[in-house]
C-alpha cells in the first residue's frame, strides 16, 4: 500500500496505459451523453477533474479516521458537496454550457471514475499523491471525451466550438452532415474505434483470454 509513486507516473499513466475510460472502462455513460459538442465536453472534463482531484485530497486526509463500514457514505458526502459547488459555479459563470450539460453535472456524483479512484487510491495514499492521481485520471477522462467530441462535432454538425469549419463549397457539392454522429449509438461506436486504435498501438493493453 505504501508504495512510493513517482509523481510523473501518477499523472501520465491514466492518459494512456491506465486510462479510466478505455482501459478501466469507467464513466462510460457520461462519455456517451455529452460528447455531441466539443465545448460541453471540455467543461465536463474540467468539472470531473476538479471534483476528482479535491475529493481525492479530502478523502486521503481523512483516510485514517474513516470507519471502514461507512466509508462509501462519507465518500458520497464529500463528492456531492464538491459537485454542488462545481454546479453552482458553472451556473454563475457559464450558464449556457451549464444548460447544455443539464443533469450530467449532477450525475458526476455517480460517475464511477470518482468512486473508483477514491476506493482504489485515495483510501491508501497520501494527499499529494492522491491529488496527482485525481488530476491524472481527470485528464485521461477528458482526453477521451475531447477526442470523441471532436469527431462527433466535426462529422455530425460540421462545426468545432460551434464555428463552422467545413467550407460551404463542400455543402454545395452535395456533402451532408452525418446525423447518426449526433446519436449516442455513434458515440459508443466512436469510443469502440478509439479503443481499437489504442490497443493496436499498444498491444500490451489487450486482455488475455
Amino acid at each position: 500500500m505504501a508504495k512510493k509513486h513517482k509523481w510523473i507516473d501518477l499523472v501520465k499513466d491514466p492518459l494512456n496505459e491506465n486510462n479510466p475510460i478505455t482501459v478501466q472502462v469507467l464513466g462510460i455513460c457520461s462519455a456517451l451523453a455529452i460528447t455531441v459538442k466539443l465545448m460541453p465536453a471540455i467543461v465536463m472534463a474540467l468539472s470531473v477533474m476538479v471534483v476528482l482531484a479535491f475529493s481525492n485530497v479530502i478523502i486521503s486526509l481523512m483516510r485514517n479516521y474513516i470507519p471502514n463500514r461507512i466509508r462509501i457514505i462519507i465518500q458520497l458526502l464529500v463528492v456531492a458537496a464538491l459537485v454542488i459547488l462545481v454546479d453552482q459555479i458553472l451556473k454563475a459563470y457559464a450558464y449556457d454550457v451549464s444548460k447544455q450539460l443539464s443533469v450530467f453535472v449532477g450525475l458526476i456524483i455517480t460517475n464511477c471514475i470518482v468512486m473508483g479512484r477514491l476506493e482504489a487510491f485515495a483510501l491508501g495514499n497520501k494527499p499529494w499523491d492522491s491529488f496527482l492521481d485525481g488530476i491524472g485520471n481527470g485528464a485521461g477522462y477528458g482526453l477521451v471525451l475531447i477526442i470523441v467530441a471532436f469527431f462527433r462535432e466535426l462529422l455530425g454538425s460540421g462545426t468545432l466550438f460551434d464555428k463552422q469549419v467545413i467550407p460551404d463549397s463542400f455543402y454545395e457539392m452535395g456533402y451532408v452532415n452525418n446525423a447518426m454522429m449526433l446519436l449516442p449509438a455513434m458515440a459508443l461506436i466512436t469510443l469502440g474505434i478509439y479503443i481499437w486504435v489504442q490497443r493496436s498501438m499498444y498491444p500490451q493493453l489487450t486482455e488475455k483470454d
Binding site: V176, A179, A185
Partner: protein, 382 residues
C-alpha cells in the same frame, strides 16, 4: 483459360514465402481461387468431400438475386419515364435503369472488396466470399437516387463495424447489408426516405411524386396502385424490393438448393400475416385498415424475409429457434410499420433486432432440449 493460368503461375513465386510480395499472398490467392479451383489438397485428417462450399452457396444467392436486380433496373426506368410523361419502350426503360443502378453496384463492390482485401492481408488469412452477396444486396435495398459517396461510406461502415471487428465472414452478429442501410437511414435520412428519393427526378418536371405505398398510407392518402401493381412491382421503392414475383423466383431457387431455410421464410410470412390481421380487426388508421395480405406485398417485407432473414450466419441455428426467429421478424416488421410514424418501413429494424436476439433464442432452445432429455433420462432410470 490457359493464358490466365500461365499468368498466375508466372507470378506465383513472388507471393510465396520468401517472395517479394509475400504479404499480399491472401490477395493473390483470392484472385486465383476466384478463377480456378485451388490446386492444393488437404494434408491430413478426415474430411467430408462435397461440392457445396462457401463459394457455391454464395453464388447461389447471387443467382437468386439476379431476377430482382434486372426487374429493379427496368422499374427505375419505368417509374422515371412515367413521371417524365414521355413515351418509352420496355427496352429503353431497362437501359435507363441499368445505367442508374450499375454505378451503385460497382461502388458497393469496389469499396467493400477493397476493405475485405485490406483486412485479409493485415491478418494474413484468406479473402472470404461473403462479400459477393452483401455487395449486391446493399445497392438493392437503397433508393436509386442515393449519392455514391453516401453509399461508399455506408458500405465501409457496414464492412468494418458490422463484420470485420467481429472477425470477418461467419462471425458477424448483424447482417452487414442491413447495417449499411441502417447506417445510411439514420445518418442521412433525407436521402433515404420521403417522396423524392425513389425515382430519379425528371428534368422537365417541377413537381412529381414518387411516394412509396407505406409512405402514402402513413399520411392517410389515397393509393394510386392496385394490388396487382404491388405484386408485379411497378411501384416506387428501393431498387430490388418492389417485385414480389421476382423475389419469389429467387426464393424458389434458394429453397430448391436448400441454401435458405424454409422455416424462417414461412414463419416470417405467418408472423407478418397474423400481426396485420390483428391490426385489420382494430382498424384505427389507414395503415391498420390496409388489408393484411397486401401488407405482405408492399415495402421490403418479401425481400427482407427471403434474402436477409435467412442469412445463415445471423439467423437462429436451431430448428425451433428458426420458427421463433422468423415469426418474430414478421410480427415486429408490421408492428413497427403501423405504430412508428417515423419509420414507415420496419422490416430492416425487425431483422436487425432479431439478429441480435437470435443467439439468446438458440440458447434457450438448447437449454430446454437438455432439460427435456434429462427428464426422460431420469424417468427411465428411476
Amino acid at each position: 483459360m490457359k493464358v490466365i493460368e500461365k499468368f498466375f503461375k508466372k507470378y506465383e513465386h513472388l507471393f510465396l514465402e520468401g517472395g517479394k510480395l509475400e504479404k499480399y499472398h491472401p490477395a493473390y490467392q483470392a484472385m486465383y481461387t476466384f478463377m480456378f479451383t485451388p490446386d492444393e489438397t488437404t494434408q491430413r485428417g478426415a474430411h467430408i468431400r462435397d461440392a457445396v462450399d462457401l463459394k457455391r452457396v454464395m453464388f447461389t444467392v447471387v443467382l437468386a438475386l439476379i431476377p430482382a436486380t434486372l426487374f429493379g433496373m427496368w422499374n427505375v426506368g419505368y417509374q422515371y419515364f412515367n413521371q417524365a410523361g414521355v413515351d418509352f419502350t420496355n427496352w429503353e426503360a431497362f437501359v435507363y435503369g441499368f445505367w442508374k443502378v450499375l454505378p451503385l453496384i460497382i461502388v458497393s463492390y469496389v469499396v467493400g472488396l477493397g476493405i475485405e482485401f485490406y483486412f485479409a492481408i493485415l491478418r494474413g488469412h484468406e479473402v472470404n466470399e461473403g462479400y459477393l452477396v452483401t455487395g449486391l444486396l446493399i445497392p438493392l435495398i437503397m433508393p436509386v437516387t442515393i449519392p455514391l459517396w453516401i453509399l461508399a461510406i455506408s458500405v465501409a461502415f457496414a464492412v468494418v463495424i458490422g463484420k470485420e471487428v467481429f472477425g470477418g465472414t461467419g462471425m458477424n452478429i448483424v447482417n452487414p447489408a442491413l447495417t449499411a442501410r441502417a447506417f445510411a437511414f439514420f445518418a442521412y435520412p433525407t436521402f433515404m426516405s420521403g417522396n423524392e428519393v425513389w425515382i430519379p427526378k425528371p428534368e422537365n418536371a417541377d413537381a412529381y411524386s414518387g411516394e412509396t405505398i407505406l409512405g402514402a398510407l402513413n399520411q392517410g392518402k389515397e393509393l394510386a396502385y392496385t394490388w396487382w401493381d404491388m405484386f408485379v412491382g411497378t411501384i416506387p421503392g428501393s431498387i430490388g424490393e418492389t417485385s414480389v414475383i421476382m423475389i419469389l423466383i429467387g426464393a424458389v431457387l434458394l429453397l430448391y438448393t436448400r441454401v435458405a431455410s424454409w422455416r424462417i421464410m414461412l414463419s416470417g410470412v405467418l408472423g407478418a400475416a397474423l400481426m396485420a390481421l390483428l391490426f385489420n380487426m382494430w382498424g384505427a388508421n389507414e395503415l391498420m385498415r390496409f388489408p393484411w395480405w397486401q401488407h405482405l406485398l408492399v415495402g421490403g417485407l418479401a425481400f427482407g424475409i427471403v434474402f436477409m432473414a435467412t442469412d445463415p450466419v445471423t439467423a437462429a441455428q436451431t430448428r425451433v429457434g428458426k420458427w421463433i426467429y422468423g415469426f418474430m421478424i414478421g410480427v415486429f416488421a408490421i408492428l413497427i410499420r403501423v405504430f412508428n410514424p417515423a419509420y414507415p418501413e420496419g422490416v430492416m429494424l425487425a431483422i436487425l433486432l432479431m439478429n441480435v436476439v437470435a443467439p439468446t433464442i438458440d440458447f434457450y432452445v438448447v437449454q430446454s432440449n437438455i432439460k427435456r432429455r434429462m427428464k426422460r433420462f431420469n424417468k427411465q432410470t428411476a
